[in-house]
């Protein structure tokens, strides 16, 4: 047994995240934790298991699967869920396409990033979820910096940024009408470096694509995109081999890697601290479509 003599930023962030997770579990009827196999959702799921230990999670995990995955991430996802011995729901964009709910994009710039929103909202309705935990952080993006911890969504899954519920102190108004839901963000006040430091402190394992490895890539808009069967390349986009790692993990059609030799958490931390480019700026093609790309997608029900 040890006595606390000093409190670190991570201790405070961890305590805050657990408070939010417990609060949502207690107040909402049917929460679900959105789990992509990305580092933020891994940290989130880890925090959730700590919040209720030694009992199990009072809610399932859900992966919105675009079908355009990095195989290492899916492998990790299934391993992780087995490891914590919890239930995983997979909501499939492929199925939404097969059912005619959405139309797959075609051509070299095709992405299923936008299509995920329909699949997610359908799954929320099907399972009657009234709260979705997400690993989003305020330091990621301008629109996210404006979002509440308990972020209200109407029956259409829409976020109304001009009319958010005031959220003073750490008191959350968790009242909903039928059909509405919350997106709940326990990592709101964490930074990218905090996430890595916490992964280090807790000894969490991550999908291998977060660390330097050789991969077939091609250059698009100044970013290194993974060469995959489902990505159509333009004539001038030649494939070559590069040592890369991924800073974020999303749909493989819009997530870029970066040149790196960082093979451990410690080395990634060194690079992250020295980096002059933000996480999303470095790796997300989907934010670059317009100035308010994230706000517009969030208004429509995106993560």
């Amino acid at each position: 047994m040890s006595t606390i003599t000093e409190l670190s930023t991570l201790d405070v962030l961890e305590a805050e995240a657990v408070h939010i997770i417990r609060e949502c579990a207690a107040e909402c009827e049917r929460p679900v934790l959105l789990f992509s196999g990305g580092k933020d959702s891994i940290v989130l799921a880890h925090l959730a298991t700590k919040a209720f230990a030694p009992a199990g999670l009072p809610f399932p995990l859900m992966h919105v699967d675009t079908g355009h995955n990095f195989p290492e991430v899916i492998e990790y996802r299934d391993w992780f869920v087995g490891e914590i011995d919890e239930r995983l729901i997979v909501a499939s964009v492929e199925e939404s396409i097969a059912q005619g709910r959405v139309q797959d994009e075609t051509g070299p710039r095709a992405s299923r990033n936008r299509l995920q929103t329909t699949t997610l909202l359908d799954a929320i309705a099907e399972h009657q979820f009234d709260a979705c935990f997400g690993g989003a952080r305020r330091d990621e993006e301008r629109a996210r910096a404006k979002e509440r911890v308990f972020s209200h969504r109407d029956m259409f899954g829409q976020w109304d940024p001009r009319n958010q519920r005031p959220e003073p102190w750490s008191i959350y108004n968790t009242k909903l009408r039928k059909g509405e839901h919350f997106r709940v963000f326990p990592l709101s006040n964490w930074t990218e470096v905090d996430v890595w430091l916490y992964i280090q402190r807790e000894g969490l394992s991550l999908p291998s694509i977060y660390f330097a490895h050789e991969r077939e890539v091609f250059m698009r808009d100044g970013m290194l995109m993974a060469a995959a069967d489902f990505v159509e390349r333009l004539p001038n986009e030649e494939v070559f081999t590069e040592t890369v790692r991924f800073r974020t993990v999303g749909d493989a059609t819009c997530t870029a890697g970066m040149k790196s030799t960082a093979a451990t958490v410690e080395e990634v931390l060194v690079e992250t601290r020295a980096s002059d480019i933000s996480e999303r700026g470095a790796s997300r093609a989907d934010d670059k479509t317009s100035e308010a790309a994230m706000e517009d997608r969030k208004r429509g029900g995106y993560f």
Partner: protein, 418 residues
């Protein structure tokens, strides 16, 4: 043992165009928390709007409507490090019509950064924000006399405004003021002192944020129970009381009482997220075990025997009204306090703070953005304390049960014993 808080909640307030967003941009930039792609984004967005140079406000004004109108509508939160201490900074809207969002940002803040235009001086909105900070218990204000470059770095003008700010706060028994001459645009006295204000030998904004004395866990121990974790331990049904310690320190062996029931027991085990410890302090999330199997559930408050909060149904409180529809008494609402949601009746409205005259005036209604004093009755007794004594036990949020909207922020002034 109280320890220095590793994290500080700060809020930037002040009138429109006094330069809040520019200061935040500067702070992030000078502390190395602004990335090249973010700067490139601001450059492009500034150009698109025909601004000369970098409009750093575009960094935090992230919403479409904010950029279109050039104003801040809602709070943006950014994190940065002040020489090893984490600062979570809220950029609050300056417009009067968005005061409710300013209240959201300032509630729970340890320190406010208040900007005043060196040329224009104090405005009604400056005094209003100062008063709101005072009511919300923000005990320290870094008063930045901004745009000091536009008055030729005039020491006399700075001294004049510094005196006015201190006097304005004294008049309302408000926060402690640390005045700093500043140019957010030129980066003067934000993270480094400047030759331009050689006559100034006080701290920079970053110095104040780094040095501010803010201990955690100084007050009496309190923990509202969030969740009861039940599990089987060698055939025994074990119940752990999960929650976040909102103030103070608890030790194994401490005699505690659960409120409002009043049942007592001793702490037998403290589990800090998988780590068993002899003691734990605010703001940690923990699971407490009691020696006796007493009936404790979500919403109950665990406190030391002999130093527990009062249990009462009637209070007087300051209400910051946040809803477009005015509040008139009597009103039936719901209050969320600690982890409880209880029906309440606002029985009587007494006074309203007239922010123009800065005085309390009698009233029978609170309009949106008003601050007033009211008497409130709750359907069940609550473990409450005066806000000034314990923020967590003395704050509530009012919810309209019809619309589910968050309509008010409550700070307890007086607990009326049953």
């Amino acid at each position: 043992m109280p320890v220095e808080s590793p994290m500080l909640h700060a809020v930037a307030v002040g009138s429109v165009d006094d330069g809040k967003s520019t200061l935040i941009g500067r702070l992030l930039y000078e502390t190395g928390h602004l990335n090249a792609d973010e700067i490139a984004h601001v450059e492009e967005a500034s150009r698109k709007r025909g601004r000369k140079g970098l409009d750093l406000a575009l960094l935090t004004d992230g919403l479409r409507a904010e950029r279109e109108q050039g104003i801040t509508i809602d709070v943006a939160y950014r994190s940065f490090d002040a020489q090893g201490r984490r600062i979570l900074l809220g950029d609050a809207p300056g417009h009067e019509q968005y005061t409710r969002n300013m209240v959201t940002a300032a509630a729970g803040a340890d320190v406010a950064i208040l900007l005043v235009d060196a040329k224009n001086g104090l405005t009604d909105q400056t005094r209003r924000h100062l008063a709101i900070c005072g009511m919300l218990g923000v005990s320290d204000v870094v008063a930045c006399v901004n745009k000091i470059d536009l008055v030729e770095y005039d020491q006399a003008r700075f001294a004049e405004l510094a005196d006015e700010l201190v006097a304005a706060s004294m008049a309302i028994d408000g926060p402690r003021i640390t005045p700093i001459p500043l140019s957010a645009l030129e980066g003067v006295n934000i993270t480094e002192r400047s030759e331009a204000t050689a006559w100034y030998d006080g701290p920079t904004v970053l110095d104040v944020l780094h040095d501010l004395d803010r201990k955690v866990a100084e007050e009496e121990f309190r923990m509202p129970v969030q969740w009861v974790i039940r599990h089987d331990e060698g055939g025994a049904d074990v119940r752990g009381l999960a929650g976040r310690i909102t103030s103070g320190t608890v030790e194994v062996g401490d005699e505690v009482v659960a409120l409002p029931s009043g049942r007592t027991s001793r702490i037998s085990r403290i589990d800090v997220l998988g780590d068993e410890r002899p003691s734990a302090s605010a703001p940690l999330s923990v699971t407490l075990h009691l020696e006796d199997d007493v009936d404790v559930s979500r919403g109950d408050v665990i406190a030391p025997v002999g130093n527990a909060p009062a249990v009462a149904s009637r209070i007087t409180a300051t209400i910051a009204w946040l809803d477009e529809a005015p509040l008139t008494a009597p009103a039936r609402l719901e209050a969320r306090q600690g982890n409880r949601l209880v029906p309440v009746i606002i029985e009587e409205l007494h006074e309203r703070l007239d922010l123009a005259a800065m005085e309390q005036v009698p009233t029978d209604a609170l309009e949106v953005n008003d601050l007033g004093i009211a008497t409130m009755l709750s359907a069940q007794p609550l473990a409450v304390e005066v806000y000034g004594d314990n923020r967590e036990m003395g704050s509530m949020v009012l919810v309209d049960p019809g619309s589910n909207r968050t309509v008010g922020a409550v700070m307890v002034r007086e607990v009326i014993r049953d």
